[in-house]
Amino acid sequence: MELTLALAIGVLTGSGVWLVLRPRTYQLVIGLSLLSYAVNLFILSMGRLRGAAAPVLGADGNWNPADYADPLPQALVLTAIVIGFATTALLLVVLLVARGLTRSDHVDGRESR
């Protein structure tokens, strides 16, 4: 399970990085989205894996941390997701506007060589 997740993170990162290094703005957006998936999973994995744990605290009085998945990384991921969403949206709009102003969807606004 750990291995699977680790591999998944790796592959997502790899594809993301590849796209981020491409010249087209659209590739850039897709690449960054892939990367943010990877990073979210990475953050989550930092709390170690905890399958089939109760999502919320039970009604019984004593709450042993060991019985639950580490909530902190989850909170961090939530924040990260939101911020990632916002910035992706912004980037998308900026590239649309850039496309409109420069008439090109190259990341530099003009075709290189």
């Binding site: 750990e2 699977t4 590849w18 796209l19 290094l21 998936y37 989550l44 999502p55 941390p65 924040t79």
Partner: protein
């Protein structure tokens, strides 16, 4: 009392300079009076201070500035400083008087006096500094003010270039001096002048001595225009003549030799000092005199002779014998007097005859006999003719040159160089006199009829010339005591026995003087006419210092700089991204490589279902990466696939909140990109990347980067996953979530309570981005190729137009009829769902964010179903207000607790029974969450609409051909 005088001497010029600016623009007379009185006051207090220093003591005044760095505002006047102060203020006064008649009312006088007084103040500062750093401060100030003075007539090119060159070189020297002083400070442990002067041996024996020496000499030689930095001085002649008279006789260039003499007890006496200074001085002495002979511009001649005379002084200082030092100091004074008078005379001639060109000037004596006489005497002093002050110091110079100081060839050739230099000096002095005053008046008459200048304009010249005479004839009675005070304050115990007599009997030195005089005269008789005609000096004239300088500066400060910038930098994005990725990989890898990475730890059971799930996920990711270029839609779908897999993973790993959030964000993002796709250019397989080896190599490099990055992330995450979890702060949250946070959903409690502060920042980001997008899209201009209607719309439209009884767009309406109705019905449902998600958030998965996005989705459905216009006719939502409101709610909810005396964002809660919903926790955190909800709705809607809206302006855009800027005022904000 004394130190107030010192403060006055330093401060008054600056104050007066400031005041001069405040005068009305056409106030030559008042400005002159101001400057004159200031200078006079400084001079007076200098004279008044004489008794304090004549006894060999020094007046000190220390004001704390930055004590912890050893930098203090220390003023110190000893005999040497005194005589320089006297020189500066005295000649300064004469120059002011002279300027009154020289400068024309058209010139901006206020600026002139501001710079002039500023310069005088900083020069006095250099002389009176008792702290080396302070000395550097004033030193740099003199460079700056001289720059401004030289460039005073900045409308002509020569002035600008001269000023630039002067500042570049002297500032460079100044920075070197700063470095040198820092080194000295490091050696001695203090920047205080007296401490430094007291620790000569420590400095000379220190391994860093040579470093310090080189840096300080660099400063001094550039300032004193010594070879090889001499060339800025002649170019500085573009300055108004009073400026030249002041800067190049008594002040600016003297600062260098002043410093050398000041530090003479500390630095001198070593072979390095002897060789470097000796060579520089000798070269300047001879070369300066040589080039002076060939000058056709009067001021140019004087400039080169200045270089030569300063070379003489440098050479004397280099010898390291006390007697030589005496001679050097003496010559500093003498040179100041005759050179100042000559410069001012040059100005008079220029003024009266309208030219400074030696070839055009001739026979002026009959027009201005008095000036002529004065110039002749001054030139004689310059040439070192007996009974004039120049003779005395030159005599001492010869005497010292003969002595052996160190057995090196430099020392051996010193006497010959001395004689040669003086001989040439004689030649150019004779040439000056002869070609200007003697001979017949020129065939073509002068630009204007020359005549004697007004008395007060000539007065300064006369005064100085008389000084030359008096000192020359009765040295012992006049200059003697002052010189002695100055000398002994520099040399202290080493002060030698010396006599200032005119006649020492038939000494070798006298012989050398005679030789020099005769040889110089003969040379003029032989080569006079040639000199008159020569365009530039043979051999050395070819080597144009300033040309080389210009070339060098252009090369270094322009070509090389551009080259470096291009080689080391880039303005394209891809290389930057590559570097960033590479740097990140390196950062992650280096520690791991350095000390290995252990994967020891417990591995959970391998789950095939999970693995299978992720097989799909990975395939989607890679495929998306592959398709993104040509098949955008496909890539988007694949991206969505990966997103879904991620969602499932979150559920799998018991993180339902994440799953929910990820899902809604997924949806919104996809919608967003779908809306955006429409504005991107069509792209087909047909246009392909530049093939060829280079391109292939680039891709290979990127691919390897990607692979390495992936492997790295895998390694890191795996290493952590299998390692044992540390004692985490999270446990605290689990324990306190319900008992003190009042919520069962720990994640949500963290978000709104434990780490609510993060959430506050997070929603702010969302709000900012929404507003930014809104602002950006108000200026949106579609590219020309995208203002066309999308293809299938065109088809539908053509179908509608083909049929007379259908109005345009009907087909689309029909297509969308059923879904639109459903979506409109769904609207209330969505709202209820959102409310439910929101309220249960604290105890079960859900919460403000998810609810908000769901709500926003509801609005968007309406847009998609019925179209922008329809929706905005019916419900007018003002997203920006929602954003602002949401933020305010969150912030104020947090502030409430402050009013209650608890820290910001402290939450309070209790359980209440609500009808239907049952027992609900009512935490103040819920209010905070409400803020989150409101903002998220506003932001999401704003973003989505902003993009959706662009389709409307398409028509308008189409009208403005070429896709030019679109009309602004949209009603939907």
């Amino acid at each position: 009392m004394e130190f107030y005088a010192l403060l006055l001497i330093i401060g008054l010029p600056f104050l007066a300079g400031m005041t001069a600016v405040l005068l009305p623009s056409d106030s030559r007379a008042p400005a002159t009076w101001l400057a004159g009185l200031t200078t006079a006051a400084c001079l007076a207090s200098t004279i008044w201070l004489y008794p304090a220093v004549s006894s060999g003591g020094a007046v000190r005044h220390r004001i704390e500035w930055v004590p912890s760095l050893g930098l203090d505002f220390t003023l110190r006047m000893d005999g040497f400083a005194w005589i320089f102060t006297f020189l500066i203020t005295g000649i300064g006064l004469l120059v002011v008087i002279y300027t009154r008649y020289y400068i024309s009312p058209e010139d901006p006088v206020r600026r002139f006096y501001l710079f002039f007084l500023g310069f005088m103040g900083s020069m006095l500062g250099v002389v009176l500094s008792g702290n080396l750093i302070l000395l550097v401060v004033f030193w740099e100030l003199t460079s700056i003010f001289s720059f401004l003075l030289i460039g005073y007539w900045h409308h002509n090119q020569a002035a600008r270039d001269g000023a630039r060159m002067a500042l570049t070189i002297t500032a460079m020297g100044g920075l070197a001096l700063l470095a040198g002083v820092l080194v000295v400070g490091h050696i001695v442990g203090s920047y205080d002048l007296e401490v430094v002067l007291a620790s000569g041996d420590t400095i000379r024996d220190h391994p860093l001595y040579v470093t310090a020496l080189l840096l300080i000499l660099l400063g001094a030689l550039t300032k004193s225009a010594q070879f090889p930095f001499h060339f800025w001085l002649p170019n500085a002649m573009a300055a108004p003549t009073p400026v030249s008279a002041f800067l190049h006789s008594a002040t600016l260039v003297k600062a260098g030799v002043f410093l050398l003499a000041r530090l003479w007890p500390v630095l001198s006496g070593t072979p390095e000092w002897f060789t470097i200074l000796g060579l520089a001085g000798m070269a300047s002495l001879v070369l300066g005199a040589y080039l002076a002979m060939f000058q056709q511009d009067l001021k140019g001649l004087l400039a080169y002779s200045t270089i030569s005379h300063l070379g003489l002084i440098t050479l004397l200082l280099s010898l390291g014998s006390p007697l030589a030092a005496v001679a050097a100091i003496f010559h500093m004074l003498n040179h100041a007097t005759f050179k100042a008078s000559l410069f001012m005379a040059a100005g008079i001639i220029d003024h009266e005859a309208g030219t400074r060109d030696l070839r055009r000037l001739s026979g002026l004596f009959r027009y201005m006999p008095i000036t002529g006489t004065l110039v002749m005497v001054a030139s004689a002093a310059m040439a070192g003719v007996p009974l004039l002050n120049g003779f005395l110091s030159k005599e001492m110079f010869f005497a010292e040159a003969i002595e052996t100081h160190a057995d090196s060839w430099v020392d051996t050739i010193a006497p010959y160089a001395a004689v040669l230099g003086s001989a040439l000096a004689v030649t150019y002095s004779i040439r000056l006199i002869h070609s200007i005053f003697l001979g017949a008046p020129p065939p073509e008459s002068f630009p204007r009829e020359p005549h004697e200048p007004p008395f007060w304009m000539r007065f300064p010249v006369g005064f100085l010339v008389i000084a030359c005479l008096v000192v020359g004839i009765f040295p012992g009675l006049t200059i003697g005591p002052f010189l002695h005070v100055a000398v002994s304050s520099v040399l202290g115990a080493e002060t030698p026995e010396y006599s200032l007599a005119v006649w020492h009997g038939f000494t070798l030195a006298l012989g050398m003087s005679v030789i020099a005089l005769i040889a110089g005269t003969l040379l003029y008789l032989v080569a006079g006419d040639y000199l008159e005609r020569s365009e530039s000096a043979p051999i050395f004239g070819r080597i144009q210092g300033q040309r080389l300088f210009e070339r060098a500066t252009v090369a270094v400060s322009w070509r090389w700089a551009r080259l470096i910038e291009e080689v080391l930098g880039t303005r394209r994005l891809q290389p930057q991204m590559r570097l960033l990725v590479a740097a990140a990989i390196a950062a992650g890898a280096i520690p791991v490589v350095a000390s290995g990475l252990g994967f020891a730890g417990s591995v959970g059971e391998f789950d095939f279902a999970f693995a299978g799930l992720w097989c799909v996920g990975m395939v989607c990711a890679v495929a998306a990466a592959h398709q993104a270029k040509f098949h955008r839609l496909a890539a988007l779908a694949l991206l969505g696939g990966t997103g879904l897999v991620t969602c499932v993973t979150f559920v799998w790993l018991s993180a339902p909140d994440l799953a929910a959030t990820q899902l809604v964000v997924e949806i919104v993002t996809t919608v967003l990109i779908l809306l955006g796709l429409r504005w991107l250019p069509k792209r087909s397989e047909s246009l392909v990347d530049p093939e060829g080896l280079a391109a292939r190599m680039r891709r290979l490099r990127d691919l390897s980067l990607a692979v390495v990055a992936g492997v790295g992330m895998t390694a890191l995450s795996y290493a952590v996953l299998v390692s044992a979890a540390p004692e985490s702060i999270a446990d605290f949250f689990v324990e306190k979530a319900y008992s003190e946070g009042g919520g069962r959903n720990v994640v949500n409690v963290i978000l709104v309570d434990f780490r609510g502060f993060d959430t506050m920042g997070e929603i702010t980001v969302l709000g900012i981005v929404a507003v930014t997008i809104f602002a950006l899209l108000r200026r949106f201009r579609p590219a020309p190729d995208t203002i066309e209607r999308p293809e299938q719309q065109r088809i539908q439209r053509s179908y509608d137009e083909a049929d007379p009884d259908r109005e345009a767009g009907a087909t689309a309406a029909e297509y969308l009829y059923v879904p639109s109705v459903i979506m409109q019905w769904m609207f209330p449902v969505v709202i209820v769902l959102a409310a439910y998600l929101f309220l249960r958030g604290h105890d079960a998965p859900g919460g403000g964010f998810v609810a908000g996005v769901a709500m926003a989705a509801g609005f968007i459905l309406q847009y998609m179903a019925a179209g922008t216009i329809w929706v905005e006719d019916r419900l007018r939502i003002l997203p920006v207000l929602w954003i602002g409101g949401g933020l305010l709610i969150a912030a104020l909810c947090g502030t409430a607790s402050v009013l209650l005396g608890d820290p910001f964002l402290t939450s309070y809660f209790r359980y209440v029974d609500l009808p239907i919903l049952g027992k609900m926790p009512l935490a103040s955190a819920t209010v905070f969450d409400l803020g989150v909800f409101t903002l998220v709705v506003g932001a999401t809607v704003l973003i989505l609409i902003a993009i959706a809206h662009q389709s409307i302006r398409r028509l308008r855009a189409a009208r403005l051909e070429g896709g030019r800027q679109v009309e602004e005022q949209q009603q939907w904000s």
